[in-house]
């Protein structure tokens, strides 16, 4: 159901959103999310409960499942499959990178999944897709928090102490979150037009974890080192890891350029999403 102010004339015409600028699109979406905050909270709670309802171990699964991939790499590190990198213990290096990877990959995948699976429901209820996306992001945030707790335990156990500059990490992650959400939103719209997009993205993300400096550094592996310089995942993961464990940003220039492009790309994507939202409604 649309939210309308009484006694205003509301005009519905084809693609009236085309006239909106990037800023007004962002403002509109922020208002929309704010107006639907109660729904977002309820949807998140509902899905959180649904994830464990009917299981014997109950809420345990909500904490255990996000940790599974991390524990695999931790286990392999304990077996000395991975050496120490850049002066950081192998287990810490990898679990920290994997946590960031899942956060970034989630930012790409969630908007795509929501746009694909909820556009019919959104048409029937006028419930904005943006609010559905944010409710799923809440789940991603929860999973990330759980992973961070495990990473902290690993840091303590391996005594790979972070630097004070590591406190800047949340701010440093902002451009990355904007970029990957923008990519997700843009690909989500494209996926309605070309169904192959989600499949291709899934394949890329499966491989991506191995070519983004998540598990091992890439700067001395031939062509991958060149790819490393333009791969946004690698840029943001390297920068985050270096600020936390070395106190400086490796390749600051790359990070700054990527951050600027991230904000621009996010603004463009949000406008495209805003313009296309009503058009993709109801399309299978």
């Amino acid at each position: 159901m649309s939210v309308r102010k009484s006694q205003q004339i509301h005009i519905i015409r084809p693609d009236s959103r085309m006239r909106e600028s990037m800023l007004s699109a962002i403002r509109h979406l922020i208002n929309e999310i704010w107006n639907y905050r109660s729904h977002i909270r309820i949807i998140f709670k509902g899905r959180f409960r649904a994830a464990y309802s009917g299981t014997g171990l109950g809420i345990f699964w909500n904490y255990a499942l996000p940790l599974v991939p991390l524990t695999v790499y931790w286990f392999l590190s304990v077996l000395r499959v991975f050496p120490n990198f850049e002066g950081v213990d192998g287990a810490t290096f990898i679990t920290f990178g994997v946590t960031l990877w899942f956060l970034f990959a989630g930012c790409v995948q969630i908007p795509m999944q929501v746009i694909q699976s909820r556009n019919k429901e959104s048409m029937k209820t006028n419930f904005p897709l943006s609010a559905s996306i944010v409710s799923e992001f809440a789940r991603l945030l929860f999973d990330t928090m759980v992973r961070i707790i495990l990473v902290s335990i690993i840091i303590v156990s391996t005594q790979s102490w972070p630097t004070a500059q590591g406190l800047m990490l949340p701010f440093m992650l902002l451009p990355a979150l904007f970029l990957f959400t923008g990519i997700g939103v843009m690909l989500g719209i494209l996926n309605v037009i070309y169904n192959d997009v989600s499949r291709v993205v899934n394949i890329i993300l499966q491989y991506g974890i191995f070519v983004s400096g998540v598990i091992f550094p890439l700067y001395d592996i031939g062509i991958l080192s060149t790819f490393n310089a333009i791969n946004p995942f690698a840029i943001f993961i390297d920068a985050s890891r270096s600020i936390v464990f070395q106190g400086v940003i490796d390749n600051l220039q790359n990070y700054l350029v990527a951050s600027c492009l991230a904000f621009i790309f996010f603004a463009v994507s949000v406008r495209i999403f805003f313009v296309m939202e009503y058009r993709v409604r109801g399309v299978n």
Partner: protein, 410 residues
């Protein structure tokens, strides 16, 4: 944008394109995507691609406050698409819609409910979705509860509700939003019959301050509520105007012709019987002594006996007996509403007799219902045994034989 005085809805040459082939839909989306990316405005579709068709084509009308527009048409005529477009759920491909104030759509009543949340929580959530403030929702909360008749179930998760309960809650929330334009799609043809009557009564009350667009397959509801009726056929508006005329246009479009049994069922439905309110109910056509009788002659006195035992004392007991000829012509109706309330004792058999002196019906079979109300609330609506009228040997034409005289004018 100017709107005419008292007009709340203006639909101006609206068209909506659909495609049976996904590829055409995706091609159109790709074009819009490219234009959005380039910052170029979109243009209305000029040529139709393979599989594309206009699900709505060049629809124009206006609606004033207090007016009700019925929309009828065969399946696939574009009725629901029209409502969805008016509600802003779908964008038109051509034309413009102007709405003064709030528009609320009752298309999928239960869509958008948070199933894991309680009924009470959903009242707040749905209220917020309708653009209502917290204070506003608080003010009407009790009214919604009363109307929905859910009792303690209001605190249970909506997932535990029956479909009837869910519909009651949804409708109650919608009507309390006090919209300027209410778009209703067929929802009043499902769920609990008695509650539906209550909904219809509420809609009648709302007519003073709101305009309605009402999609229904029930011609009796359409006739009852609508000032004007639009007939849609394959997306085109083939008629708009007087309800009776619109219904005859629609009836003429129906193909294939329905069988006599289907027609009879169509005429006599909906049937309803609230078991909890009756200990006993028997009714039949009878003679003056109260014995069952189905065959009468034109001009004879006709009787109908009702033996009733209710579990409660109704505030205003009303009987209604609508009569149709075999071919579906609505001949007349008999009602007790004209007398000032019938007396009744609960948990006791009460007998009532309807007397119709000198029945004017011509020869034929007549079908009828007995409906029993308590004021606006329906308690029962059930089919009666057929009534047969025979000709005692007089000339007759049409459905009724009305006493008449010709005299020489002096």
């Amino acid at each position: 944008m100017l709107m005419q005085l008292n007009t709340v809805l203006e639909v101006d040459h609206v068209s909506k394109l659909y495609s049976r082939e996904q590829i055409s839909t995706r091609q159109r989306l790709a074009t819009t995507f490219t234009r959005a990316l380039m910052g170029r405005p979109s243009s209305p579709p000029k040529k139709l691609k393979s599989g594309e068709f206009w699900s709505l084509e060049d629809i124009s009308f206006t609606l004033k406050r207090g007016e009700a527009l019925g929309v009828i048409g065969l399946n696939g005529a574009g009725k629901t698409t029209l409502l969805r477009t008016l509600a802003g759920q779908l964008l038109p491909d051509k034309g413009e819609i102007r709405i003064l104030g709030d528009a609320v759509a009752m298309i999928d009543l239960t869509a958008g409910f948070q199933m894991s949340a309680s009924g009470s929580r959903n009242i707040h959530l749905r209220g917020a979705m309708l653009g209502r403030s917290k204070e506003d929702i608080k003010e009407t909360y009790d009214e919604i509860l009363d109307f929905a008749e859910l009792g303690d179930a209001i605190n249970a998760p909506v997932s535990t509700y029956s479909s009837g309960m869910l519909m009651r809650l949804a409708f109650s929330i919608m009507v309390m939003a006090k919209p300027d334009v209410l778009l209703i799609d067929e929802i009043l043809s499902v769920g609990d019959f008695a509650f539906r009557q209550k909904c219809l009564a509420r809609i009648r009350e709302m007519r003073a301050h709101a305009a309605f667009v009402f999609v229904s397959h029930s011609m009796s509801n359409i006739k009852l509520f609508c000032d004007r009726v639009m007939v849609l056929n394959k997306g085109k508006m083939v008629f708009i105007g007087d309800p009776e005329e619109a219904i005859s246009v629609y009836e003429g479009m129906k193909f294939p012709e329905i069988s006599p049994t289907e027609k009879r069922n169509e005429i006599l439905k909906p049937q309803h019987f609230d078991k909890l309110k009756f200990n006993f109910l028997e009714s039949y056509w009878c003679d003056i002594g109260g014995s069952k009788k189905q065959r009468f002659s034109t001009g004879e006195d006709l009787y109908f006996k009702i033996i009733l035992n209710l579990t409660f004392t109704p505030e205003k007991l009303i009987f209604g007996i609508p009569i149709w000829s075999e071919d579906g012509c609505y001949v007349t109706g008999f009602t007790s509403n004209r007398v000032n309330g019938l007396k009744i004792k609960k948990n006791k058999k009460n007998t009532y007799i309807l007397t119709v002196p000198n029945i004017p019906f011509t020869e034929g079979k007549y079908i009828s219902n007995l409906s029993i109300h308590d004021g606006l609330e329906f308690l029962s609506r059930q089919e009666n045994l057929d009534l047969y009228v025979v000709n005692p040997g007089i000339e007759e034409w049409g459905v009724v034989n009305i006493k008449h005289f010709f005299n020489e004018h002096k």
